[in-house]
Symmetry: C2
Subunit: 230 residues, 2 copies
């Protein structure tokens, strides 16, 4: 995690071009990075509604944060707005997508093809974004060979090789809890740099690998704390 973020070249949008050289990704709080997808999503909604530009104030009220926070967040990456005018929606949206490297397709492997794995494999939300499930894997020989959405389930042992061959660096873990760490190790062996973990375990991975947890049960378990009456 020591390279620089916004690559030269890319789009030919010459107005509103930001410098954005010499930004160390490590200097930007992760919390800021996690807000960026929300900004993109909201901006795309605004495009649909036909707007050309937004102020930080409007965007903020749409998202439910403060305008100052949006301005500060964006300032980490450059200058995207015009004083007195606001932000050009399409431009800003594109710029953030570029920052997040969403201006390309990301193939992913999916590990664990039980009920959850099947559901994820069929989930349409991924394909609508920049992500494609390109490989399905399961440790159970009985499941290997089964066809799901034009993909054949392959044996777990082949994950690392498949990732290297196909240049895949994003993995999804949907195995049972006890096999999740093992799955993570395989992903790391295959060169994974990003892991989406649906198993309720804290994974041990090297420094350079990012992990995000999807944990609906924890989410529910923390919400009940706030429920008032019995």
């Amino acid at each position: 995690m020591t390279n620089h973020v916004t690559r030269a070249g890319g789009t030919s949008d010459s107005r509103l071009t930001q410098p954005a050289y010499d930004i160390d990704p490590d200097d930007i709080p992760d919390i800021v990075i996690r807000r960026l997808p929300i900004y993109v999503r909201t901006l795309k909604g605004l495009v649909e509604s036909g707007s050309r530009s937004v102020s930080s104030e409007e965007l903020a009220s749409l998202i439910g944060v403060t305008a100052a926070q949006i301005r500060r967040d964006l300032s980490y990456f450059g200058k995207f707005g015009k004083q007195g005018k606001g932000y050009d929606i399409e431009h800003l949206s594109g710029a953030i997508e570029q920052i997040l490297k969403l201006d390309r397709q990301w193939p992913m492997v999916l590990l664990g093809m039980g009920r959850l794995g099947h559901a994820i494999a069929s989930y349409r939300g991924f394909s609508r974004s920049s992500f494609t499930i390109a490989g399905l894997f399961d440790a159970d020989p009985a499941k290997v060979g089964e066809k799901v959405n034009d993909l054949v389930i392959r044996p777990m042992s082949e994950v690392a090789d498949a990732m290297r061959e196909e240049g895949i660096r994003v993995g999804i873990i949907a195995t049972p809890r006890v096999q999740a760490q093992e799955a993570a190790d395989l992903l790391v062996k295959g060169g994974a740099e990003a892991i989406l973990n649906y198993a309720p375990v804290i994974l041990r991975v090297p420094e350079h690998v990012t992990v995000r947890e999807i944990d609906p049960v924890s989410a529910l378990q923390s919400m009940t704390y706030y429920i008032d009456r019995d």
Copy 2:
């Protein structure tokens, strides 16, 4: 959100009893609350492995946080440990479950019975915890009447009434994006205090309603930022 947290009565475990009166839930950072389910989960894992007690140090390294943080987190709710000894695993686990109100069953309604809704309805992770899906709802008349795991899909218009009748205060939204706010409004109307939202939208809800987002696409989109090479 102005009542007090740890109710009197409950378990009869008289050793290691903490005071815990006069704790205002609002005074405790939400981030702390969100860590508690992880503590419980880890403690339960330790029970299985046969241990009797843990130190904050051990627990911390298991979870991947600092020992000081665990001690501080727990201190918001009372005194659960013994100096020189650590924490009694079973007791601490039970105490946190009580704090989170996991010492009972929470029935939930599930709104939106598309692919995602079906997957959630069949998800075993909920039933293994303190949560049960008690009602399925969809706006599409064609889906109404369909039976899924012993439950019949009911029309969306009946949500609020059903919740009040059955005393349900937790809802899951699995509708398409554009119907999610509408679904949230119905849940609020039915008296929901906790909403688990799988739709990629920011929901507008009254102050006293807690919402947690499950958003795998955002998670992926923020991770690609950190991926190094092309």
